[in-house]
Symmetry: none
Subunit: 86 residues, 3 copies
């Protein structure tokens, strides 16, 4: 087993782990969608404002999922650890 | 144990881990579906608007699950780590 | 397997694990988005104030996700553990 193989294997696992962060955005944005639908049902006139607020908040909730994706892509495509091998 | 086998084995685990992100979308979109059904029950006249809002929000909640799928597919079908083996 | 390879491999896994912290911010910010949309539906006149409050709270909820990102980036790009190898 070479040093490189060990680091690359761990990077594959690390990339998979980083994607788990997406659980949060999925739950949170789904909650926002449900509350948005409920609010539109109560106040159809305010649909535009409600949807805009829902999407703005959902965009913020997306950020940590994107952080995870960025770390996974770094591990896969621009792995900085390989270069540190002696 | 060859280097390639180690990296490929870890890629299989990483691909599986990445799919765990789907937990979030499942919970969130299910909540949105429930709230949407509830809202339609209260205001059947607003069904079109309610469903549209629910689907828009659910589409947003799908994104992080798709990120996980993309990372898993990269690990399985376009593995960039193998090429980095010395 | 060299000492360096073991430390770097574990760092890759650690970076992935750190991103899991993002689950919390995703759930919390999504909850804020949903409640914000609900509040705007009830008081469309107060939309500006509601959104400002929602975003302020969401920014606070973002912090722990960013802590995770910072630790992951340190492990990847400024790994302090390698220098401690004898």
């Amino acid at each position: 087993m070479s040093d490189q193989a060990l680091v690359l294997a761990a990077s594959a696992i690390g990339a998979g782990l980083a994607m788990i962060a997406g659980i949060g955005a999925g739950i949170g944005q789904g909650f926002a969608a449900g509350k948005g639908a409920e609010a539109v049902g109560k106040q159809p006139d305010a649909q535009g404002l409600i949807v805009r607020t829902m999407l703005l908040g959902a965009a913020v909730a997306e950020t940590t999922g994107i952080y995870g994706l960025v770390v996974a892509l770094i591990l896969l495509f621009a792995n900085p650890l390989l270069g540190l091998l002696g």
